[in-house]
Amino acid sequence: MKKTRKLNKFTLTNIKAYGIVILAFIILYPMQSAGLISNSISGQLVPICTYIVMAISLNLTVGFLGELSLGHAGFMSVGAFTGVITAICLQNAVPAPALRLLIAIIAGGIFAGIAGLVIGIPVLRLRGDYLAIVTLAFGEIIKNIINCLYVGVDASGLHISMTNADALGMVNGQLILNGPQGAVGITKMASLTAGVILILFTLFVVLNFVNSKTGRAVTAIRDNRIAAESVGIGVTRYKLTAFIISAALAGMAGALYAMNFSTIAAKKFDFNTSILILVFVVLGGMGNIVGSIIATALLYMLPELLRGVADYRMLVYAIVLIAVMLATNSEKAKQLWERTSFKLKNNKEKERGEG
């Protein structure tokens, strides 16, 4: 009996998560093709999709693994630039844009996953705030290194330099990554459809991971590391698995994000971006995938919707953020909630008693 109920809960979350995404797509896609959505919002659709993927993947680290990561944008950055380089290199070899986009996204995911492995091994030894600060440090290091990186491609292959564009020594080559100016000459290939497919893929990976044996081990480690260790769960291995999956998904999102612009610089993926994604996750509810999706969509659109108050929009955003946190987390608000729900319950019981 208990087992079937649990299964139901799992399928219910699945239906909710996939359902929201598919429903949104069904509504938005015809509207976009018919030109019913204003240009400014239409341009935000792919970024929203990528940020939803970022939020879901960060939720895996923060919500299910229980470790605060302040450098998630770093993985996005690795994925974005790997994706751009792959896409430009394959321009002639793979003419179909959809296939090239797919390869670029996969490459972004693989490289970000490798970055996740390299960073995860030292980082996951630390705990709590120290882990948070080291992820922050890694995010900044990634940003800094990409800022100094010059990459170009010509007939003989890839050229990489850390000094300047002239040091690449290319013959009639194309400059891809130009240091602080970032990647240039990207062919825009991202579309709403690609974004939605990536979200569905992310949901598939994360939801199944969370409900797998490994996923349960990960949540056990979050709830009580020592207890989990004592029943024979290899903490490091499971933590690393979750961390790498999270990083790889972020890399895929990064690759898609980059393909939505013609130029992109590393400073886009800084500490503030990491924080922005963390805000989505926390407001949506840690460990709540559906919450992440809704919170990202709403919060990403909020500054856009507040265009009417132009100068004050980021201020309003900040106030909304503080107000929501106070309303959901403070002692007084909690007591108020309890009192109202208690009253409602009482009323219901009274009605039942009378009836």
Partner: protein
Amino acid sequence: MTFISNLINGISLGSVYAIIALGYTMVYGIAKMLNFAHGDVIMVGAYISFCATTYLNLPPVVSVLLAMAVCTVLGVVIEGLAYKPLRKASSLAVLITAIGVSYFLQNVALLIWGSAPKTFSSIVPLDSIALFGGKLIITVESIVTVVACILIMILLTLFTKKTRMGKGMRAVSEDKDAAELMGINVNVSISVTFAIGSALAAIAGVLLCSAYPVLVPTTGSMPGIKAFTAAVFGGIGSIPGAMVGGILLGIIEIFSKSYISTALSDAIVFAVLIVVLLVKPTGILGKKIMEKV
């Protein structure tokens, strides 16, 4: 000579980091929260001092005192309105609220002072000192910064060790519930910590902008992050740790800028932090925390 001049620059920059890091570390020690808005209090302090000298023509010392007063009030108000209701909430909720406060301060500054950078005039309008026949030039700002840092350090140590309030603060950071049972007013202790931290942030803001005179609403964020790393570097929650961490971080930053690469200096600073934390996971002077099952 370049070595010595770099060393002096490093210590001077490090002193600024140390003063900011003190604010982080004290708040962390007592309220167990990462106050991300601290960096923006620095920016507010710098703007207040800028306005006082430029528009009101007040003498520099008065402008610093005014900035300290405004920031102290600001710090206490922020704590009372935004953090106090979340005393018992999860640390992540408090962190997000602090980020909200940080956005709020930056945007208010943007509305008041605009996004165009303001040129901050140094608070010590004296010429640099040339030694060894002009080979070694020491700016007066760097001397003032280092002296201020040492003074603050001594006063703060005396305050926490000798006064009733300071002892109370240490007790609260050790064990909040036990301190409350001993008759210490926890709320007042935390408010006083925020007040001191914010006043120090104002001083740091003025010193920082005297050395690097460009003032924009986001001036505080990068030094804020670096000072926070400095606090972790030295062992968060420890006052001498913040000092050691800050100065080491400043020296590493200036040395990597002049000897290795300007563009990669931040990466090197953070890489050193990571190495230190891996070798000594609670920072240089941090206490080892025993874990209970």
